[in-house]
Amino acid sequence: MSFEKIRDPRRVRHWKGDMECDYIYTAGIAGEKFFTTIRDKAKLLATRCAKCKITYLPPRIYCERCQASLDNWIEVPKTGTIETFTTVHMDNNGAPLSKPITLAFIRIDETDGGLIHEIGGTKPEALKIGMRVEAVFQSKSKRTGALTDIKYFKPV
């Protein structure tokens, strides 16, 4: 056995390859309703399990605690509270970003869930855990029925 460290794999017998596959993902039964409502009405929907007293956002067609099927859909506010946040200075390859991105986990009001999304309309230094924010939607003509139909969350 050779324990010599190979510094450049191209200097020994080698082949190049990839593991590319193309996909089309569907949003599912709950996702279809959630995203078309964002697209058409700029509103957030949730589902609720009355028995477990849990409101799911993003909505699900089942309760993860009791496994009951859920069809109790409710509209919830587009406002929420920052549970935690961070500012990203490097891209995934370690290169510095020209413009740092601030991301937060936002607990949406009246739900037990929330969204991870960008924060805009403020300076990162101004952010605090517990701060109140609201969703800023793209204009109707730009909305496609996707998470990015919310441009960002901004302080209220």
Partner: protein
């Protein structure tokens, strides 16, 4: 050492379809809810969860079992994924059996899910990278031509005419007419199979099962706990699995030795001495018609090369001496990989409970289910008894 005898007390299954709008989580939920309802249990009664799901590349979500967890009833529970490629569907209840037979848990929910449709345009792409990158991949193999090589050798060694292989597709697609989940049930003839499009000779369009989306679930319980829920448990009395070398070139493709090894392990555990006499019905893995025959022989239910003739003579039909794939199998019900394997175990459960409706095999006492996969070298076997 088996500490506790393991019972099956509930089962559930979704529709199998080429493309379903539901996410994998949602499909898993439907199957789990049906299984819980059938056992008259709630999620609180479930102590552990085993998820079986085949390559991440189908759903297009790396670590997809983790993604499926909440739909599969796994949130805040001991939850484990088992994975042996195409053999996963029958391996999942084996994983569940470990949980209960060991005495570690009294109940285990076993779920299997596959959503092959996100991989677009065809899930075949996902198989491109399962091969050894140096030895096999330079030839750009696809699964169908690899199987064609195996099918050719099987037919040549035993001098089996294609008509006899085609009879298996006719039987299974016909049996599936009575399965409420079925995707490709049809009344076809041997001639239809022989006239269908040649994909990779000798594999033709009607020799092969379709890609599908779907999920299945099964509830296992220890003997004393099972008795609290039902007077009619089905016993999972034997489990077996075995893998052969990953080198195709070091084995003879005409006989699945790995299935025979797994079957002997399961039969020994279930104290089955003469499987041909003692097994009332079998659900061998049939992604291709010749594979049903190949695996029936691997399960020691027919002589080598003798399985196709059993179908030609009618013995493997539901009213025959040796019913094989009374569900309709993968050829008829559909092939969402892991879910298809668990579907076979569910079929054994329903047959042994006399709950198979129009599919019911008379006097079903003992049943065997089997799946196959990984790099075409694993056999997974479960033996059920009423």
């Amino acid at each position: 050492m088996v500490k506790k005898r393991v019972a099956v007390i509930g089962a559930g299954i979704t529709l199998f379809r080429r493309r379903l709008q539901e996410t994998g989580k949602e499909l898993s939920h439907y199957a789990v809810e049906m299984a819980l309802d059938s056992a008259e249990m709630t999620r609180d009664d479930i102590e552990s969860v085993v998820m079986g799901t085949a390559p991440d590349a189908f759903d297009g979500i790396h670590m997809k079992a983790e993604n499926l967890l909440d739909g599969a009833g796994g949130a805040r529970k001991p939850y484990t994924r088992v994975f042996v490629g195409g053999g996963t569907g029958v391996f999942a209840p084996i994983g569940g059996w470990w949980h209960v037979a060991s005495g570690l848990f009294d109940t285990c929910l076993v779920v299997a899910e596959e959503k092959m449709s996100p991989c677009y345009p065809h899930p075949q792409t996902a198989f491109r990278t399962i091969w050894d990158p140096i030895i096999t991949r330079p030839l750009e193999p696809n699964l169908v031509w690899i199987f064609a090589l195996e099918m050719q050798r099987y037919m040549q060694i035993h001098n089996i005419p294609k008509e006899h292989i085609a009879a298996i597709a006719v039987k299974n697609k016909g049996n599936a007419l009575d399965h409420p989940s079925a995707q490709l049930a049809a009344k076809i003839t041997v001639q239809d199979v022989l006239d269908s499009e040649v994909m990779v000779w000798p594999v033709q369009r009607l020799d092969i099962s379709p890609p599908s989306d779907g999920a299945a679930a099964m509830i296992l319980a220890s003997e004393d706990v099972a008795r609290k829920y039902t007077d009619d448990p089905v016993w999972l009395d034997g489990v077996g699995w075995s893998l052969d070398s990953a080198y195709w070139t070091n084995r003879d493709l005409y006989f699945p030795e790995y299935v025979a090894t797994a079957a002997r392990m399961a039969y020994k555990m279930a104290k089955i001495h003469n499987p041909r006499k003692e097994i009332s019905l079998a659900e061998p893995y049939d992604p291709f018609d010749y594979k049903e025959a190949h695996h029936t022989e691997g399960l020691l239910l027919a002589d080598k090369g003798g399985a196709p003739k059993l179908t030609v003579e009618g013995q493997t039909f539901r009213d025959g001496d040796q019913p094989i794939c009374p569900s309709g199998g993968l050829l008829g019900v559909g092939n969402p990989i892991a879910a298809a394997g668990l579907m076979k175990c569910c079929e054994c459960f329903w047959q042994l409970r006399n709950e198979a409706g129009k599919r019911q095999v008379p006097k079903a006492e003992t049943a065997v289910a089997q799946a196959w996969g990984d790099l075409m070298q694993i056999g997974t076997v479960t033996v059920f008894r009423r």
